[in-house]
């Protein structure tokens, strides 16, 4: 008799077995929900931190000083040229008078800097960047614009930002991978417990001549359904927890400076990641769990 794969049958077998082994299915769903909640919460914190970090990065800028030979209108006219350079987010024109006022307010009370003539200052642009890691090339491009005398930046701060962002990104990825591996292990063990009761069933199938894949498929579908269900429960719980925590932060007197991102714009992406992860840990856990029982 030729081997046929009736996926409708596998699906129904997997679906039915969720209810015939109700307690174990409940335990597996609980584990999936817990794992996704921990992983999801950590990821959302990382996303918020990354967003805050990117806001801070955007505040970082360098200054381009303009040739003294240019009038203020001519200097102001360079703005379009500078903003046309790739990676320049915006250029803010500062007149020499504004620069003087700013300087004096910075050193207020210091007699050394009082009463300096305004012609020692230059018109200038504060230039904000899209990506701070490309500071050097952007600065060189601005420096090459006719009318720009020289530029001044603090590359060590830019490098510091880049290093911190890279390290934070790497740590976040590693932690998510570890959490995923731990989740897979826990789910596999939970499903293994569920499968232990069914080893007799598997042994009978094997003795009748069932192939390993025939035995495995219903378990895979069962894992997929449990994973999907767990993902949906975890998604709505995550949403609720996120909104509650966000509200607590914004109404707090001490930590209300933290800007929490709204959940709704991220909701579809979070749901997608949860469902995908639920599928992976549900089906992956099932396959890992029954491996031992297939050796009959």
């Amino acid at each position: 008799m030729k081997q046929r794969y009736d996926f409708g049958y596998f699906f129904m077998e997997g679906f039915r077995s969720i209810f015939t082994h109700g307690l174990m299915s409940f335990a597996a769903v609980c584990m999936i929900v817990c794992c996704l909640l921990i992983m999801g919460s950590f990821t959302l914190v990382a996303v918020n931190a990354s967003h805050m970090f990117s806001d801070l990065e955007k505040e970082n800028q360098f200054t381009a000083y303009i040739e003294e030979t240019l009038t203020q209108d001519e200097a102001r006219g360079l703005q379009d040229d500078i903003e046309a350079i790739p990676n320049v987010a915006r250029a803010e024109f500062v007149t020499k008078e504004e620069a003087q006022a700013e300087f004096e307010s910075d050193y207020e009370g210091n007699p050394l800097f009082e009463g300096l003539p305004s012609d020692v200052y230059r018109d200038r642009f504060h230039i904000y960047l899209e990506d701070i890691s490309k500071l050097a090339e952007t600065e060189a491009a601005v420096d090459a614009v006719t009318g720009v005398a020289w530029t001044k930046s603090a590359p060590e701060i830019a490098e510091g930002f880049t290093v911190i962002r890279n390290v934070a990104g790497a740590v976040a990825i590693i932690l998510v991978i570890i959490l995923l591996a731990v989740s897979l292990f826990i789910i596999a063990n939970t499903i293994k417990l569920a499968t232990f009761n069914r080893r007799e069933e598997i042994a009978i199938m094997k003795m009748c001549g069932a192939t390993n894949s025939f035995v495995r498929w219903p378990f895979v579908f069962e894992g997929l359904i449990l994973g999907l269900f767990g993902a949906l429960v975890a998604f709505f719980l995550e949403w609720g927890i996120y909104v509650l925590v966000g509200r607590a932060i914004t109404t707090s007197d001490t930590i209300n400076l933290i800007n929490v991102l709204a959940f709704q714009p991220m909701a579809l992406r979070v749901l997608g990641v949860f469902v995908l992860t639920g599928f992976v840990i549900g089906a992956g856990g099932s396959v890992m769990a029954i491996r031992k029982f297939l050796q009959v």
């Binding site: 009978i204 025939f214 009959v296």
Partner: protein, 230 residues
């Protein structure tokens, strides 16, 4: 056809279960494999069903050379066998009919084949009226009939019964043995492992006796003698 040629089997703990066993069972035969507990009967069955591999010797089962069979070929070899166990091994949560459907599904049978074959086999074992009952709702003898039906449902070349009457009273045991004899008459090879002397002696069949891992007698129309029972 089954051929065991100078088969030896040693387990990891050092136990020598089989010490050079030679058996040939041709298609259409009915054979009793008898012997006391620990004589090596179960090891022979496990070798035939490819649950374990021989330590030495050659082993052929229904055209498959089990000495170098690939793991992915094992299910196809097992489809040529129907195995019956002493403890029936039915799935308690499935009805009689569902147990048979399950066995047919396991080998990839189509719904059409299943609809045709299951009622025929249930009728053959005399359980056509019990198809919708759970195993727990029928007697031990009937449960063993279900196990026989399950073994038969995929139309194997050979039925292997491991102590099929071990859990049954003498009357039910005789009925089961007569059913196996009828199945054999329909063309299926039957190998029955048992240590029930009286039952064996009621049927004039080939009797292979094993003791301490060696074949001590092999007689067609033979008896299970007191000398071999210990």
């Amino acid at each position: 056809m089954i051929r065991l040629i100078d088969i030896q089997k040693s387990y990891d703990n050092g136990t020598k279960a089989l010490k050079g066993v030679n058996i040939r069972i041709d298609d259409g035969e009915f054979v009793f494999l008898v012997g006391p507990s620990g004589s090596g009967k179960s090891t022979i069955l496990k070798l035939i069903t490819a649950e374990i591999a021989p330590s030495a010797g050659r082993l052929m089962v229904n055209g498959y050379n089990l000495n170098n069979i690939r793991p992915r070929q094992v299910p196809y070899m097992r489809r040529t066998l129907g195995v019956i166990f002493q403890d029936f091994r039915l799935i308690e949560k499935k009805t009689v009919k569902e147990n048979l459907v399950f066995a047919m599904r396991a080998v990839g049978a189509s719904p059409r084949e299943i609809r045709k074959r299951v009622p025929y086999v249930l009728e053959l074992v005399g359980l056509d009226q019990k198809g919708d009952q759970l195993p727990s709702e029928i007697s031990g003898g009937e449960q063993q009939r279900v196990a026989i039906a399950r073994a038969l449902v995929n139309n194997p070349q050979m039925i292997i019964a491991d102590e099929p009457t071990g859990n049954l009273d003498p009357m039910r045991s005789l009925e089961i043995m007569m059913l196996l004899e009828r199945i054999n008459e329909l063309g299926t090879t039957v190998l029955v492992v048992t240590h029930e002397r009286e039952l064996v002696n009621r049927f004039s069949k080939r009797v292979v006796a094993i003791e301490n891992g060696r074949i001590i007698s092999d007689e067609t129309g033979g008896y299970y003698n007191n000398e071999t029972t210990i």
